[in-house]
Subunit: 218 residues, 4 copies
DNA sequence: AATGAATGAGATTTCATTCAT
DNA sequence: GATGAATGAAATCTCATTCAT
């Protein structure tokens, strides 16, 4: 469910229902937009999946575009903030951090319902440049800054080989992007299911090894 | 230019034009579809960019969908085949291969006009599942098989650490995917331009180091 | 009004409207198709005549073709069935039957709104061969069978001269066809209006006389 | 072939060809219009059937509409004039005339390539009211006048029963119309082929008998 | 608050017509 | 004279949006 819409006080009966509506609609929209893209998604599709009728959506959102933008803007907030905060307050070694990161983010990538969002943003960046900018600023830049800081600290501490931290940060992220794309695009065509755990474990091993400072003992 | 459209005979006047038209249209379509996605792309947009009018497209393609499918199907052929063949006949060390691969594919990713295709496929896989299957089979599986084979050989030769080759193959590819996404989605919002060379150089260093067999001398 | 559309339950408000809509649309379509033919009829024309807009038609019919086919298939049912049943249960003399037939069918031809249907079918048989087959089977063959049976009985009873009943049946029908064509094609160019009653009275007289067995007294 | 287009002097080589072109196009158009109607007929269809390309038609006719009108106006001329003249100079009995008429017109109906014209006129009268008027005046009224005159003479001579000659004329024509409609609309769905000869023979017998003056000996 | 019938702008597609070759 | 590539007006059809119930 979409976080921003979580009613703070769990009202009951159809009042609860009423308050939950926008969230239900956004949940439905997330799936439909991920599957078809913005233009090909029909309000009827979204409505049907949310268990309401087309008209109802307009009680909560002024337009299809606004549903889309709300979705793209609001539904990563909580997760990102949480992960970033955890990372920023992390005091252990780079190795420990990366190990933890693989597990946490790996889970989000594999099971999280918001993992389809990047695909949506990628697909629609041409039609909604302001969204691309928003994501760039609010999600990517923030995430990158956090990761870059950690790598830079690792380098400073002598835990990580001398490499440009910003690009190392992207190297760390890249396999997660690939996993998301795989899950949202090709997973259904798999004969043997893709093993995200194994993939990320391999990623971790290569990474830890690869980042190890030159000349350090094995 | 689209490979399949190379006219075998020079021909003159509008005969030459006629032979070139499908290719021109596909070139235009590639850009428009990459920018807007299938549904939001208007035939008028494609026509305008190809320097013709709407009606002309229908002289060469029966429908918008067919333009799209032709594009998705035909326009990776040559490049992929070439890269794969080069790779398969490569006899040097894994390290040499990877170094070469970074340069060649890095250039395609950074400057090639067909680099937008993966984005198109990702965005439209929901609406054209048969295309997703086609790409899976013809592009991804073939590329993966080639890379997996090379890594496996590296392991056998003792050049590469014992790791599952299929997943290592994906690790090698992931930063290229990220680069393509960056180029087609966020590059225009960059203040400091993204340095693909530097990124891939970092990738290469981490990779070579990370894949080095355990216990080997540094 | 189209028979199949009679709403079984009265219902109220726009529910009543909704039930009536398909019938209203078909009524409008009948007139437009009769006037312009299938290809030249515009959905806007039909919509305007039905008092709705283009889009509304698509709430009830998936395509222009389907409007046309529904029309051609459904809107003779009731009338034909009724006439056929009356004819089949008729016990009087052939002379009495023919007299009655002239009056009843003459009225349909002259005043009925479904009289334009044959013209539509004739005009579009080339574009909708399946409709020609449908009409052949469901309307013409049934009507012919009924009439042929009656004439054959007349022959058997000695009321009708020895002639091939199937062709006599067509002779009986021919002037009705001519009347329909006249009404739908040339009537507006008449200075002196065509007198259908008089025409069919003449038909009846020639027919009764012409069918009289040879050598019977006058 | 269309009569008006017959070149008066049989030129030879491609000059002959050039002169024959309009006629060939009209012949092709006749068939296509009969099959599909005006709106659904494509210039490409007509061109293909005439063995030329679309552009060529425009060398001889300014528009599709003009092809159609030329066709509808010019291609009954000769036949009608001939039949009418023969009829007007006919001096024999009404019975003899009708017998002859059945044979001559029956042949045209059954085998003539211009028999499809009435169907075309019927189908397009709504879209080309001026054509309906033209046909009404030039074809129907002339034919009717001729026939009516003959019947009136028959009545005056005591060969025909006292009946309104104009309506008797139509009774005579009606089965021919039905035959034409059958041939152009339903003939291809026939299991047992329709026997036009037998039908018209039956028509003749009923007619001759039915028109016989009351009280005349059998 | 919710519905769903109705609207109409906007897209794809067709094809008569033009015109350079 | 003939061609056929190109055009663009006009039609069908879709679907976001409105609004009476």
């Amino acid at each position: 469910m979409i976080d921003a819409q979580m009613p703070s006080k769990p009202a009951k009966g159809w009042t609860r229902r009423k308050q939950a509506r926008p969230g239900e609609i956004l949940d439905a929209a997330l799936k439909v937009f991920a599957e078809k893209g913005f233009a090909a998604a029909r309000m009827d599709d979204i409505a049907a999946r949310a268990g309401v009728t087309k008209g109802t959506i307009y009680l909560y959102f002024p337009s299809k575009e606004e549903v889309f933008k709300t979705l793209a803007r609001e539904s990563i907030g909580a997760t990102l903030t949480e992960v970033t905060q955890r990372a920023n307050s992390f005091e252990g070694s780079t190795r420990e951090f990366l190990t933890m990161f693989m597990v946490i983010v790996g889970n989000l990538v594999q099971y999280g319902d918001r993992a389809v969002l990047p695909k949506i943003i990628i697909a629609e960046s041409g039609n909604f440049p302001e969204l691309a900018r928003f994501w760039r600023k609010e999600v990517i830049d923030k995430g990158m800054a956090m990761m870059t800081r950690l790598i830079a600290r690792g380098v400073a501490r002598g835990e990580v080989r001398e490499l440009p931290p910003a690009y190392v940060a992207r190297l760390i992220i890249a396999p997660f992007i690939l996993s998301i794309i795989w899950r949202t695009t090709f997973a259904q065509t798999d004969d043997v299911p893709f093993d995200y755990q194994k993939f990320l474990a391999t990623h971790l091993e290569v990474l830890l090894n690869g980042l190890e400072p030159q000349g350090s003992a094995k």
